[in-house]
Assembly symmetry: C2
Homo-oligomer: 312 residues x 2
């Protein structure tokens, strides 16, 4: 299948990245980062979550952040919602899209949201009712789509059944989350092909983690399947780095660099994006996994006297 | 083109990785690491360099390391040689293969070895004469094959001309070095296709750096061109990380993980390889970029109470 000519890069850093930061990041700083992404040309941002402020204090300012944005360019601002109450708050705040989530595996869904997969799916009906009253679209994400850290391999049909429920509920898209970095290029091809059969009209988004170093190899596999929506986090921040030193989300700047070098359009200004990523490093106060923000653009010439010792 | 069924993974960590370590690593430790690689099933190792001990004190023990190895399994031990004097020492020590190197770009070759590309190529004639007397094969590596940090893009014909000279000199293989991480999937395809035309009988090895995060995406591109030889470094050590925080060589364990998950054989035991990589981290005393050695094998089940916060 031909690779897409353009790709929608969905930035999840402000939610998936910042949510695990221990120290509260000021609302004004979140606004600055998100407005920076918008100015860089990012078209979709999962910008926060309307979870219980007690469960995730870091994202308690979801409504204030949205209200404070300048939005210098057209952008689609998505908020994660765990339940009907979150949906009401998100709609009230005026988000562009709600996103619900469920794991493909029972044990992960139990540990993550303390209920069965079926109970999660039934709960989505209320979210969709609330959203439809205000004309807000809802998309769904399936965590552990490529494997579960408690159960191991997940049958592709299990993922397909949930995606079908999403379509039947009237959702506008399905995201496959690679929660603990278990995706591989062959699994990407298998899962995308299955979904194209089961939910042919539902746009597929791939959300990879770089936990085992092959996040962008999985993107290559997704592109070969014609998939044109990917999610990533600025500077590679966050996304469940479950082992010491392990990384989580794939990095937005590195993804955008790869896409541009493949001749695929994103509408994003890579240098502006790298500036935001470097600012994220300042904000969290530690080195993050992103590479392009450190190495610079491909044709940035060096004035170093010696860049290599012998061959390399 | 069909992807290869098996791949030769050439480990370059003991040379390309260790050479930039400031503190001298004891000869016995080098022997332990290399014997560990051999025991893990690694079939080719660029294990040291016969450069001037004054220029690279870290590799002054190239002969002693070779003499001290147990070699529990069949392995091909390669040494880098910069000139005729190095070739004599390497042949005397009994290495399995000599490797010479030149940059594709004049300015990088000048800065790296202080001579013109043509002078480097002429110098190789003496190396080949010495090697042939002892029946030792010689391969050649071309640094800056995908771009030069001083000159920018490098015309593919420039790389092809050098590869042709390698073939004419009787070398047994050509390696394309991505010295400062300027390779991209499209350049990989272009360069491999050109070389297949210009030197159809010369095996091609791809040596990528992860400087801009897309090293394994470039491997995917190489596999799609049918290339079945790749070089990498244990734990992702070394390889000219020219910007603070930037990485160098792609990581052997992550490469092997990717290949195995693609159904491509390497003959390498990934768990043993990860144990060696973790030992490398101990030896150099800092966290290294490799991911699989930290996250563990794909189906390693977790007993953590909570591995994810919400979706991911």
């Amino acid at each position: 299948m031909a690779r897409p000519k353009s790709v929608l890069v969905g930035e999840v850093g402000p939610r998936d990245g910042l949510q695990i930061e221990r120290d509260f990041i000021p609302t004004s700083t979140k606004i600055e980062l998100i407005d920076g992404l918008i100015d860089a040309g990012v078209k979709e941002i999962e910008y926060s979550s309307f979870v219980s402020p007690r469960a995730v204090p870091q994202l308690a300012d979801a409504a204030e952040v949205l209200a404070g944005l300048t939005r210098s360019k057209p952008v689609h601002l998505v908020a994660l919602v765990p339940n009907a109450k979150g949906a009401e708050r998100a709609v009230e705040a005026g988000v562009d899209e709600l996103r619900v989530f469920v794991s493909s595996s029972e044990s992960h869904n139990q540990k993550n949201v303390n209920r069965s997969v079926e109970d999660s799916l039934v709960g989505f009906e209320n979210v969709l009712r609330i959203a439809h009253q205000s004309g807000t679209p809802v998309s769904g994400a399936i965590a552990t789509s490529f494997g579960c850290p408690f159960e191991g391999d997940v049958p592709v049909e299990q993922v397909g059944r949930i995606a079908k429920r999403f379509a039947d509920l009237g959702m506008v898209g399905v995201g496959l989350g690679d929660t603990t970095g278990m995706a591989t290029p062959l699994l990407v091809a298998e899962r995308c092909n299955h979904l194209k059969t089961v939910v042919p009209d539902l746009p597929i988004t791939l959300h990879f983690h770089n936990t085992r170093g092959i996040g962008l190899a999985n993107v290559m596999a997704g592109l070969d399947e014609g998939i044109d929506r990917y999610e990533s986090s600025f500077a590679g921040l966050g996304g469940c780095p479950f082992a010491p030193g392990a990384t989580g989300n794939i990095c937005t700047e590195d993804l955008v660099f790869l896409l541009h070098e493949l001749g695929i359009e994103t509408g994003i200004d890579l240098e502006k994006l790298c500036a935001v990523a470097r600012r994220v490093e300042d904000v969290v106060g530690r080195t993050l996994p992103g590479q392009v923000m450190k190495a610079g653009p491909r044709l940035q010439l060096s004035d170093m006297e010696q860049v290599a010792t012998a061959v390399g």
